[in-house]
């Protein structure tokens, strides 16, 4: 297994799938000569040429909408939005054209479209920093992916490109530099299968991307005090693997969600409601959500740090819960 960064893993997935299938094209602002503002697409323009990898105007609506149209007629576009927040700037195209074009035409089309959406991070301000997963998870017709490791980033993107349904692929800006082992051999990662990142009995914590990384850190500290938390990484939010979470909760009797989305109707809300429907008998502690307290992400880092769940906040929340 080679050790790669999260962004290099994405780059490899793109290169491999573009090599495998000439119908895969890639476009977005600055993705060509410059390799993307986050340098994720470096080298692809040179390798696959301007017909398959090209820069686009600042026109998010047509970027996504053209991707849908092209997908219905046999291409497999990968569209890079410069920031995940822009799925709302292209709201009609993401939620209605990508999400519903097949449905409203009675299944006459397939829509193999991937929208790459760099999410989270901070310092970019209210319109460039969000984790808008919940908007996508609520909307019918859109698959939703949240890779947390280089291995998953590669495997889930390769799978996304091969699927015949539209996928919003959230890549977390703060994970781009993360290093991790990636299989040398060809693989894809199936959608809808959560993974237990750490075993424990004290409480089940559901977290992904940067919040997973922070939760794992907090878990180390807690472990030194004899508190072993179980951590579930959903990997995809649609399809969503409830069973792994329910099984874990049957063991731990408690659940906490740590997420970088706005708290109200964040992904944690669905997990809470789902558990109340299917696991009420096993729950002996109140449900807990750590999330953004329903304000946009500010620009100044120390204000951001005040509202994004920190390792310490996760640590404290677990202590409260178990005591």
């Amino acid at each position: 297994m080679a050790t790669l960064t999260y962004s290099k893993a994405i780059n490899q997935a793109l290169a491999e799938e573009m090599t495998r299938d000439e119908n895969v094209i890639l476009y977005g602002q600055d993705v060509a000569a410059w390799g993307g503002i986050f340098k994720v697409t470096e080298g692809l323009h040179e390798q696959f040429g301007p017909e398959r990898v090209f820069d686009s105007p600042i026109s998010e609506n047509v970027m996504v909408g053209a991707g849908v149209g092209a997908a219905t007629m046999g291409l497999r576009p990968v569209v890079e939005l410069q920031f995940a927040d822009f799925i709302l700037t292209a709201g009609d195209e993401v939620f209605f054209k990508a999400g519903m074009w097949r449905f409203m035409h009675g299944g006459a089309f397939k829509v193999p479209l991937v929208i790459r959406a760099p999410s989270g991070g901070s310092g970019f301000g209210p319109e460039h920093s969000a984790c808008p997963e919940a908007f996508v998870m609520h909307a019918p017709g859109l698959l939703c992916v949240v890779p947390s490791t280089p291995e998953d980033a590669k495997g889930l993107l390769k799978e996304a490109i091969r699927l015949d349904n539209p996928v919003v692929y959230f890549e977390h800006k703060l994970l781009y530099a993360m290093r991790g082992a990636v299989p040398d051999t060809e693989y894809t990662t199936p959608f809808g299968k959560a993974v237990v990142r750490r075993e424990g009995d004290a409480v089940t914590i559901v977290a992904w991307q940067d919040m997973l990384r922070r939760t794992l850190k907090a878990a180390e500290q807690l472990s030194q005090e004899g508190i072993e938390v179980e951590i579930v990484d959903p990997r995809t939010l649609n399809p969503f693997d409830r069973d792994t979470i329910i099984e874990s909760v049957q063991k731990t009797g408690a659940c906490m969600v740590v997420e970088e989305a706005y708290r109200t109707l964040g992904v944690g809300a669905e997990i809470g409601a789902m558990l109340m429907e299917h696991a009420l008998p096993y729950l002996d502690k109140p449900f807990k959500r750590l999330a953004i307290p329903d304000v946009p992400l500010p620009t100044s880092q120390h204000l951001v740090d005040h509202i994004v769940p920190s390792v310490d906040a996760i640590y404290k929340a677990v202590k409260d819960l178990v005591s």
Partner: protein, 316 residues
Amino acid sequence: MDHALLSDIFKTSLLTRRFEARIIQMAMAGELPGALHAGAGQEVGQIAAISALNKDDYILYGHRGVAYMVAREVSLASILADMAGKEGATNRGKGGVMHVVDVPHGILGESGTLGGGFVISVGVGMAIKRREPGKIATYFFGDGTSNRGTFHESLNWAALQKLPCIYYCENNGWAVSVPTSSSTAVPDISARAAGYGVPGVVVDGNDPTAVYEVMQQAAQRARSGQGPTLIEAKVTRQMGHFVGDQQTYRADADKAAAKDPLPKLQQLLLDAGTLNETSLSQIEADVQQQIDTAVETVRNAPLLAPEVALQDLYSE
């Protein structure tokens, strides 16, 4: 223009006109939902435009009537089935008459949010440029729809990539109850072509020959890799925006009939002797028969199973 073609255009227009009249009748009688936006008065131009394209060129349309589908020989029964939510519907109860689709006949559907076709059609253009070179994607839209931001992003995109796309604007002077003059800063939508370095052409949408010719030029341009053309057809909406619209907002509603191209085309063909009273009544009879058959077929067709509501979202 060749009269054989002209009389084909006439026949298809007549079929469409009578077919929509029947749909409205059935809607009034409560047998169908009143979701049709009648194309009466605009169908001659629509059909003339489509007849200038190859049968395998692709079409995205607006909501203004069913001529687009009729011109491409989508079965009348399947269109009725779409409205009735019955077996045989092209979109299986999901989109009704707004989203009639028939890919083999080049009918790629409609966006319910106006102007969605601008972005979808350039995507289709990107795909055919790479996978089916020589084909064209045409999007039919209204004057009001040209005020969507997607118009701008789409035309810039198509012009930049020299996509094989045609933008066919049907300027009927109205967006529901709003006259174009109160919603649009320029009288000619075609003036907007200048912002994208593409040709902008105004044509009398009531003149099938003129429409045919500008479409041919646009098609030639698109096929030869020179990119999109913005065509603006000046037309007249003969009826209300939707079934039952009394047009209380429209002072000149009564004057519309005088601009109806269908009787004019009929007269032209009669004068030229291309048609005569006998052939004409033959055509009328034939049209009625086609419509009656379609109506019968759909009356006898079963409703779609309710569970169909849960299907067609994801491809397996």
